[in-house]
């Protein structure tokens, strides 16, 4: 910092401007003036260069901060939209197919000789076998998809591998049980002991080993999504402030440089610098807006897409296991109490009403849901919560369908259990496996179809929000460095001729 004092120094100390660091101590005015002139001649271009370098550094900082913030948005979109999110769907499909395999095996064993018996059971054994085969194929491809999506997570990889091994084992046991059953030719309903011995091994493997692993994978992916969402969305929101600050700082520096050059060189506006300034300003505004909208896309994808998809996928999984429990309840009377209890607990997790037994539960469900499936009061449990959060077009109607479908599923289940309790095995099996509405087989399928439609609604919202988020950051990996280089080039172009004037 140099200062030229217009006042000649005569013995007394020169007047010092407040805040000035170095006192000017010219011994003799003429000498000092010459020295200062030399200094200024040397220092003026370097000062211009220095301010320009600081401005360039600020521009680099601005673009680095922006790049990092957009990187957070990209990471969020990648994990939520393309890894853990799809993994939830893949593993939920795996659970569903596996659980349905066990349902079909139980159904196949329930028919016994019913196919040729006096009471037509409607749905036939060969159809169950066909569904079983289809489930098996679906489970295989879902497991492969899940394996591909585990990425580098060693725990998830180990779990999927164990699942694949277990599936082979299950299929062997199931084939064995089906073969023994065919040989026994028992009446519809409970299977003979030798069949049950193998069926129990199969169903225990499924219930205690395979299904828990598939379900835990779904939950694990869900928690990855939750953590990523909180971390990355928080970082994107904070990033807005940092980008805004860096942008304002850069613009302020460029304006200062502009003013300095204008005054120093008595020029009009330096067009290149002005362009760089406007460029930075527009960039900052656009980047801030982008980050805001990315945070919104992430929120939309998570809250209205992912969360309900996860909850409803769990609903579908648990409902299928209930459907399975009903078949097992008929097939294995010795374990009927266990299957009864697990059925009730599952039902309560889907739609909660307090009760210690199924009869009380069904009374509660009937009382809580109106005729058209409209809930009469806010309820807990997966579908209960869903019914309280209607935010998407078309969602209300489907939720009502899910609720009335669930109630109908429970009504026919109650009929099956009532017949079984009276000792009417054949009647119970007929209601279980019939092909018309009022048979649990059909009522479950209808209810499941509604749940799937509801998942689709949220899945679409999810996919759209992720696609919007991807599209918004799409061009930025090119636009960002290009704009950055352009701004730096403009600064150089604006400053260079001024510096050259000293040469």
């Amino acid at each position: 910092m140099t200062q030229v004092t217009p006042r000649p120094a005569q013995g007394s100390a020169p007047a010092r401007a407040p805040g000035e660091a170095r006192p000017a101590v010219p011994a003799r005015p003429g000498v000092a003036r010459r020295a200062l002139l030399r200094l200024r001649l040397r220092s003026r271009p370097s000062r211009v260069v220095a301010v320009a370098v600081v401005a360039v550094a600020a521009v680099i900082a601005l673009f680095t901060v922006t790049n990092a913030s957009i990187g957070n948005a990209r990471d969020g979109l990648r994990v939520i939209g393309h890894q853990a999110g799809p993994q939830v769907v893949a593993t939920a499909n795996l659970y569903f197919s596996l659980s349905d395999m066990d349902t079909q095996v139980s159904n196949i064993l329930l028919y016994g000789n019913g196919k040729n018996g006096k009471v037509a059971l409607g749905f036939n054994r060969d159809q169950s076998l066909g569904v079983y085969d289809a489930d098996r194929t679906a489970a295989d491809s879902a497991a492969m998809r899940a394996l591909a999506l585990t990425g580098s997570d060693p725990d998830q990889q180990a779990t999927v591998q164990e699942l694949l091994d277990g599936m082979g084992q299950y299929e062997q046991l199931a084939a064995q049980a089906i073969q023994l059953d065919q040989q026994s030719g028992h009446a519809p309903g409970a299977a003979p002991a030798n069949v049950l011995a193998v069926q129990r091994q199969a169903t225990d493997l499924m219930r205690q080993s395979l299904l828990p692993k598939a379900y835990n994978l779904t939950l694990d992916s869900g928690s990855i999504v939750r953590r990523t969402y909180e971390d990355k969305r928080g970082a994107v929101l904070d990033g807005r402030w940092w980008v805004g600050l860096a942008g304002l700082g850069t613009v302020a520096l460029l304006v200062a440089l502009q003013v300095y050059l204008t005054m120093r060189f008595r020029r009009l506006v330096n067009p290149a610098l002005a362009l760089a300034t406007v460029g930075c300003l527009v960039f900052t505004v656009l980047a801030t807006l982008l980050l805001s909208s990315e945070a919104d896309h992430l929120r939309e994808a998570k809250v209205r897409g992912f969360d309900p998809v996860l909850a409803l996928s769990r609903t579908r999984a648990i409902s299928n296991a209930m459907n399975s429990d009903e078949s097992r309840y008929l097939l294995d009377p010795a374990r009927a109490d266990t299957y009864d209890q697990t059925y009730l607990e599952k039902a309560q997790s889907i739609l909660y009403t307090p009760s210690v037994d199924l009869n009380g539960y069904n009374r509660g469900v009937n009382a809580a849901i109106g005729p058209a499936g409209v809930p009469k009061r806010p309820m807990e449990g997966f579908i209960g919560v869903e019914a309280q959060h209607i935010t998407l077009p078309g969602q209300r109607a489907v939720v009502d369908r899910v609720l009335s479908g669930f109630r109908q599923f429970q009504r026919s289940d109650a009929r099956v259990r009532a017949l079984a309790a009276k000792g009417d095995q054949r009647g119970a099996v007929a209601v279980r496996l019939g092909q018309a509405e009022g048979a649990t087989n059909v009522d479950f399928a209808l209810y499941d179809l509604s749940t799937s439609s509801l998942i689709d609604i949220h899945q679409q919202t999810f996919t759209q929000a992720i696609a919007d988020g991807d599209a918004a950051v799409g061009g930025w990996n090119i636009a960002l460095p290009v704009t950055g280089l352009l701004v730096v080039a403009l600064i150089v172009v604006g400053v260079r001729p001024r510096v050259a004037e000293y040469r």
């Binding site: 910092m1 805040g19 725990d155 080993s209 694990d220 869900g222 939750r226 953590r227 600050l245 109490d337």
Partner: protein
Amino acid sequence: MRHTIRPRRARTLRRTAAALAVAALALASAACGTASGAEKSVADHEAPLVIGVKADQPGLGQRQGAKDSYDAYTGFDVDIAKYIAAKLGFTTGEVEFRAVTSGNRESLLRSGAVDMVVASYSITPERERQVLFGGPYYVAHQDILVRSSDTSIRGVKDLAHRKLCKVAGSTSWERVIKEGDVPAVPVAAPDYSACVNLLRDKKIDAVTTDDLILAGYATASNGELRVVNAPFSDERYGVGLRKGDVAGCEAVNKAITSMYQDASAQLLLAQWFGKSGLETTTDVPQFEGCS
């Protein structure tokens, strides 16, 4: 007069820079403020971690010493709790145990007196409305304990006309007589330890409750008593957490997953229940989910 302008401009610039710095600081602290302020989570590693366990359940949670020290309690539940605490990043010095009963688990969690409960705590829809459950870490089943010499009882149906312990406040015996429709003869006792004494003295023929509890008594009896291995319900033993501690619940589930993957769970089951003759499940249970 250009010369006199410069220092003033320099000052203006400096002031602007200072103002910007202040604004940046304010923003930074505001940003930090949004990140913290959530309620305490067991995943946050804030010592001490207070874990509620049973003090009077052989094989599951039993107090040996007088003080509530790290080594004062022993049992399967206690070892599970220690494993989870270690996975959550707590050293042995940072973990405290506290005795809980079936009646006060929810209130102690709610008041924050305990951070976590591992105490043969079955997950039920009713309890889930009050606390959040990590796990289950094991699915126990209701089973039957008999004298080893008695081979006539092989399942629930064989309890017909036999004397069955009826513990005050427990629903296990009801499940046999009322829901199972088995005409057993209930004999009242204050708790399961009393039931086991009655069984040894041949005053009753069977005790029914969760298999892990029965296995604890069977092991303690040195072969005098045995578990029938006729499971007839699912009791999902969960890790009780404060409602809302989603991050903690997820961390607990991760710990339980690795407990089964590194075979610690299998080892603990063998260690505590291997001698009882109980058939245990060695696969990771289906978690309840944290939300």
